[in-house]
């Protein structure tokens, strides 16, 4: 992993130095020992700030879209012939490249505007799972040793097996290596252990009685305080005006009514049909620990089982709701 980090820095430096890209989006060390934060490198000498480790969590595709669109917006008043295109380099693992694929399929920007530095991924450490593993104690230092995570808290050290703290979406990840990349750094990572158990959780939930499911849904959505962090971090949520802020028509009330929260979460999740890449960013940033994945994974499962499609799996695989076929399954249609 250190080797990959070194190569990433070198490559990012080279891209910036020869002017191939205007900015490289990557991760840098955060303020806490087990944290990384997205960073935007524009000076080749700053490339040494980049890191690549088990704590790189959020999906960087969001920032690629933000940078390109922010730039586009700033060019609105320029003469058409004077307009420039922003070129972005991005350090991308499997899920990030899937999100980039979705952006490209949805024609958000051109392929030549993004230089994808592909890195193999073996999963990231979920901060919520780690807090549980150390009983909520403050972590002073943290490092990965082989297959375990050695954590230092105020009360002493502890070794936690990595499998216990890796994010759920990583354990069942099918695409941990980049789908598309301009350059691939390091060897392809081995497949994740629980790929075949991908839908186990969803199937277990489906088997519950309807009222229990509703109780769980309302309980989870009851936690939501509508900070919209999930939307802000989601690479597939890039509308200029989100339905939450729309007021003509006003789709969702802004008060504390619980059904408004339920409708907001339900519709935001529904917008992820065929577009959720299960990168776990929303779970990672959620301050209230809402179990969004249980619901988002269902959309992924239906998408695969009904339409044989997985979000962002390949450039040729069209998004579910943008295509249709005469022979789509229609068992749900009511016939009197």
């Amino acid at each position: 992993m250190e080797n990959i980090e070194k190569q990433v820095r070198e490559y990012a430096k080279k891209l910036l130095a020869d002017g191939t890209v205007d900015v490289v989006v990557g991760y840098e060390g955060g303020t806490l020992p087990f944290q990384t934060t997205p960073c935007f490198i524009t000076d080749p000498d700053d490339a040494k700030r980049l890191v690549w480790n088990r704590f790189c969590s959020v999906n960087l595709a969001k920032y690629v879209h933000d940078i390109i669109f922010g730039h586009k917006e700033s060019q609105k008043r320029a003469k058409p012939e004077d307009r420039t295109k922003k070129k972005v380099g991005v350090i991308a693992r499997g899920c990030t490249t899937r999100s980039l694929t979705i952006h490209l399929q949805e024609k958000q920007y051109d392929r030549d505007q993004v230089v994808i530095i592909g890195v193999p991924c073996a999963g990231f450490v979920a901060n919520k799972k780690m807090s549980v593993a150390v009983d909520g104690k403050e972590v002073i230092a943290c490092s990965v040793v082989g297959d375990s995570l050695s954590v230092q808290t105020k009360d002493g050290g502890k070794d936690v097996p990595l499998k216990e703290v890796l994010a759920d979406n990583c354990l069942t990840c099918r695409f941990n290596n980049p789908i598309i990349s301009d350059v691939m750094i390091g060897e392809a990572a081995p497949p994740m252990p629980d790929v075949e158990k991908e839908y186990e959780e969803v199937e277990a939930f489906e088997a519950l009685p309807v009222d229990e499911r509703w109780a769980y849904f309302t309980k989870e959505m009851g936690k939501c305080m509508r900070c919209y962090a999930c939307r802000n971090t989601c690479p597939s949520c890039y509308c200029k005006v989100c339905f939450i802020e729309q007021n003509q028509p006003k789709w969702v009330g802004v008060g504390i009514d619980e059904t408004d929260t339920q409708v907001f979460q339900f519709m935001r999740m529904f917008h992820m049909v065929g577009r959720c890449v299960d990168c776990g960013s929303c779970l990672e940033v959620c301050p209230m620990g809402v179990d969004l994945r249980k619901f988002l994974k269902k959309l992924d499962k239906d998408d695969f089982q009904l339409f044989d499609h997985r979000a962002g799996e390949a450039m040729e695989s069209a998004p579910t709701l943008s295509v249709h076929s005469e022979d789509d399954k229609e068992a749900f249609i009511f016939e009197p």
Binding site: F243, W251, Q262, M267, F270, P336
Partner: protein, 144 residues
């Protein structure tokens, strides 16, 4: 709550129907003097593809006991493929709604063509019976 105790409770159902098939089917049912329950309020839209899933969820939130969406049969859409793309949306929506715990029969999708006046009245009866069996909607309903 008080409504539930009432034995004469009648469900409120909203139907989003397409202009070219189901609405004409409703017309035919009327011309043919077919009887069907008056619980359904029709909303005419250009095409079933025009139905935003939000309409359905909002209707439930605003207190409708049932939602029906009906359009042309697949392959007979006035706009060639509006109902085909709608079908994909609805398949996902129906599954997702029942997954989060909504009764599956609250939201119903069907196809009724312009010549199927008889089927239209059958659908109205069927939907009303299904929703009546479920009782008044309580999930997702905004209480003012």
């Amino acid at each position: 709550m008080t409504e539930k105790a009432n034995e004469n409770w009648e469900p409120k159902i909203i139907a989003f129907v397409c202009n070219w098939c189901t609405y004409a089917g409703a017309d035919l049912a009327g011309i043919s003097r077919l009887q069907y329950p008056p619980n359904v309020r029709l909303v005419r839209l250009p095409c079933s593809g025009r139905v935003n899933p939000f309409y359905i969820v909002k209707a439930l939130q605003e207190g409708m006991d049932g939602v029906l969406v009906s359009g042309c049969h697949p392959g007979e859409c006035h706009y060639i493929s509006g109902n085909l793309s709608a079908r994909r949306k609805f398949a996902m929506l129906k599954n997702f709604l029942s997954y989060v715990g909504m009764e599956p029969d609250r939201v119903i999708f069907t196809w009724v063509s312009a010549s199927e006046g008889e089927k239209f009245s059958q659908v109205m009866k069927g939907v009303t019976d299904k929703v009546k069996a479920l009782g008044p909607a309580e999930k997702l309903v905004k209480k003012l």
